[in-house]
Symmetry: C2
Subunit: 530 residues, 2 copies
């Protein structure tokens, strides 16, 4: 009953909202986006802002590979950087991950993967620091930016340029966020007890054994060390060079006015949060549109068996042929039709039931009534779309947060994870299990119902809060000043030390006093006896 709450209700609500809201003055938004799949969802926010009558300026680098210079709905500023991070950065990491997964790894291989990952980790902040320096040093550009009188900076804080520039320009700061420059966003803004909040990359859920909690703690400590020595120094150098003395980059990260978080609690494990964190998970999802005729015909030819789609996301388009052969072999044994987003050689074992495509209208396919299963890598976008449309998932995670994302679906009974290492054995079994066992579909349908049952469509909620920041020039009353405290004060260690010392002092004084008293009494008795 509540399942169609959104589709029936949100149109009315949105129309009503948009009409009756005494629209915020036409705002000016300065956007510092991130590349790759991160740009895809930032682009959705930018389009929505444009549709609301706001003007958007996107700051990109000359090395941008996704963010176009020309656009009908934003203007852009291109900043020169010497060493960009391009789309190719994934390939060496992917190859090493695949080698390790398939047991072809040596200790050297594993070590070189770590070096590759660490080198990438410090490459981004280096590029961002250069970007910010080049903007600040460009007097003409800075004059233009200041004269435009932007209302706020909108950024994806996994890359830190927007955070630095918002502080330099003294503008309110809004995040489209899941990751900050190092680690998951919540870890930075909200209390995050290590005892039940799994670190990203830990492969743990919110229910941990003692050993798992030890592992979680070690991962947290290791992350802090990496952040301290590999990431933060680049950003801190900009603070030290251009800002008032004592400005700490971590405080700037924490001090954002608004955190538009790209998850919701249908997806994420429940955890503490803060008043200026707004959950817009699934803001990119929308009802399915009709498909191109050839795709529709292919789907209809599946009869009662229905259709499976497979995509490994923005970054991974090609896989080694032995892996694609294993996947194709498994697909060929199913009665379903399969649409597979695959670039590269045609697998030798491809069945007649499988259609290879360069690109697919993923959201429209997932919303098709004949959709039975989604073979996904576990990117946030895909996982949220699977939840929105209630489609069960077989997960094939490769790197980053993909395993953790799929784990959240698996923990709720909506997905089954298969690793590349055991693909030949497990993939077909996993497909058959998820197709035949009704609980997977039922659980995803339940998650879909929960996700859609919100007082407001997540994209409209995000727009409301961005305009709220414009109207009130920030969110001072929603932000704690807690992170400006030294860590020992925040955790009351100084107070506890003082109280313990006081108790100890009182105890010692009392003991000393009693001993003194006893000694005197003994002396007297002795004297009497003598």
């Amino acid at each position: 009953m509540a399942y169609h709450l959104w589709s029936i209700f949100s149109c009315l609500l949105v129309t009503c909202f948009m009409v009756s809201l005494p629209a915020c003055h036409s705002g000016k938004v300065l956007v510092f986006p991130l590349e790759g799949s991160h740009w895809l969802h930032m682009d959705i926010l930018i389009k929505a802002l444009h549709a609301q009558g706001h003007s958007v300026t996107v700051v990109r680098t000359n090395k941008s590979w996704y963010i176009k210079e020309e656009s009908s709905y934003y203007s852009s500023i291109t900043v020169h950087v010497t060493d960009g991070v391009d789309e190719g950065f994934v390939k060496p990491i992917l190859n090493k991950v695949l080698d390790i997964e398939r047991g072809k790894s040596s200790a050297l291989n594993f070590f070189s993967l770590q070096v590759e990952a660490l080198s990438f980790m410090s490459k981004v902040p280096k590029m961002m620091a250069e970007m910010v320096t080049n903007i600040i040093e460009d007097k003409e550009l800075m004059k233009d930016i200041k004269e435009t009188q932007y209302d706020l900076v909108l950024t994806d804080p996994a890359w830190g340029a927007g955070v630095l520039m918002a502080h330099y320009l003294q503008l309110p700061l809004v995040y489209n966020v899941r990751w900050v420059t190092f680690g998951e966003g919540h870890q930075v803004i909200a209390p995050s007890p290590v005892s039940y909040i799994p670190m990203t990359g830990s492969g743990l859920t919110d229910k941990m054994t003692f050993t798992e909690r030890v592992k979680n703690m070690l991962i947290k400590l290791l992350g802090q060390v990496q952040d301290r020595f590999l990431v933060r120094p680049y950003y801190q150098a900009v603070c030290d060079e251009y800002f008032q003395p004592g400005v700490d980059f971590n405080e700037l990260i924490q001090g954002a006015d608004l955190w538009l978080m790209r998850v919701d609690f249908v997806f994420e494990f429940p955890r503490p949060t803060m008043p200026n964190v707004i959950y817009m998970g699934g803001f990119q999802c929308k009802p399915a549109k009709p498909l191109p005729q050839d795709l529709e015909d292919f789907i209809q030819s599946s009869g009662e068996h229905g259709v499976i789609i497979m995509s490994l996301g923005t970054f991974v388009k090609e896989l080694p042929s032995d892996i694609t052969d294993e996947i194709a072999t498994a697909f060929a044994q199913l009665p379903q039709k399969i649409i597979w987003r695959h670039i590269g050689d045609r697998p030798a074992t491809l069945g007649n039931n499988t259609l290879l495509v360069d690109w697919m209208p993923q959201n429209d396919l997932l919303g098709h009534p004949k959709m039975r299963l989604f073979v996904a890598h576990g990117g946030t976008n895909g996982v949220q779309e699977a939840i929105y449309h209630g489609v069960p998932v077989v997960g094939l995670p490769l790197f980053f947060d993909q395993y953790d994302n799929l784990l959240r679906l698996q923990a709720r009974g909506g997905a089954k994870i298969v690793t590349i290492a055991t693909l030949d054995n497990d993939f077909l079994k996993a497909l058959q299990e998820v197709l035949q066992e009704p609980s997977y579909r039922e659980n995803m349908q339940r998650l879909s119902k929960l996700h859609r049952d919100q007082p407001m469509n997540p994209l409209d909620l995000a727009m409301f809060w961005i305009e709220y920041v414009m109207r009130h020039k920030g969110t001072a009353h929603l932000r704690t000043e807690s992170y400006r405290m030294p860590w020992y004060s925040y955790h009351s260690l100084d107070v506890m030390t003082f109280l313990l010392a006081s108790v100890l002092l009182i105890l010692l004084t009392t003991v000393a006093f009693i001993r003194c008293l006893c000694f005197r009494m003994c002396c007297r008795r002795k004297m009497k006896h003598e």
Copy 2:
């Protein structure tokens, strides 16, 4: 511009919401309310539930002084208790507070106030335990309740009967909450660092010195001791008697599905929160209705000076004559007209500009354009109404959370607090300062704008979430299981001990190894020399 956002927009929104929401099946709600001013706001929720088509059963005791047995919008169950808490309980506490405030206190007086407060503290859980026992033991009543198949229990958890009964009946549990059986609600459900979250009764804000943080910590510890020995034992006894072994009352309190919190962050200091806490602060506020003609005439006679209202809330109707004389003297010296809710003897010094009333339409008066100032005791209802209508406050706190509530307004520049002790010196000055210094009004108007600028009217939001609990039979995915962990695991003390011990062991082994090595080398050298 955004100021009238609500008034223009929420009507449309609400209408649209109510019409298009595929209304939850007509639900059945079992309510365990609290007396006094707490009943006033529970009554608003009950009326709203009734208006939405749900049927409500209110469980009251034979000693209830506010909750009527007969009503047009709810049915009731009356449970017999031997020793109720009646309206008179405030009087002895108030008298002692006033004596202490006016310097008439002796050490004995102060001691007897503590005894009075502690006795009241344990009187409520005793009554609640008796109430629950009597319900459970009444086979006929229990049969009726079970057969009715309620959808959820709605309760104000400052009194614990609803919490116990929800567990006994295995029903989803919804709170209309600011206080739980002991202390402020957030303290129980969300991480609450003592370093910047002031305890109720501490008179502290979210910015504390070291000494204040020590005070805050001591108040927290004292509170935990009082809870442990005065309050919890009564509730725990019911758990031990009627529930499965090992059921802990504190876990039941924490395990509620939904916390409809009677504050928002325009009022409360920003702090960590949880996914199942919904802020409905100000849900009782509404635009002002026209006043009765005599009141309107009185107000209009104030000319450009405008009007002041004074009320000390539900519990305090009478004050000693020396205090009321001081208040009346101050009022008489103002050019404003004053409407004063006062029961008791007419103060000898009452000016012509002051009208005494038994009762006043407080919300309608606060929304009147000629309203200049609100003299308030600092109950949550009044403070939220002052925020809603943007009226500055002179606060006259007496007990409970009143000082803390007013402190929140004062910290934001919208109120000035006066104590009974210095009334004769400070009251007139405070009134004149708040009337003449524009910043008080400006700050309250700013708070009002912020409060009204929400995606949804708080009462509608509360209704949405109550029905959400009905639709999904709870909020399992929004609740952490963290509170089921032992405290040392939750705080990772076991993990940290293990890690420290491991590091220590490695260090000691290394040192022992090196010493052993050195010793051997020394021995060899010695042997060589010999």
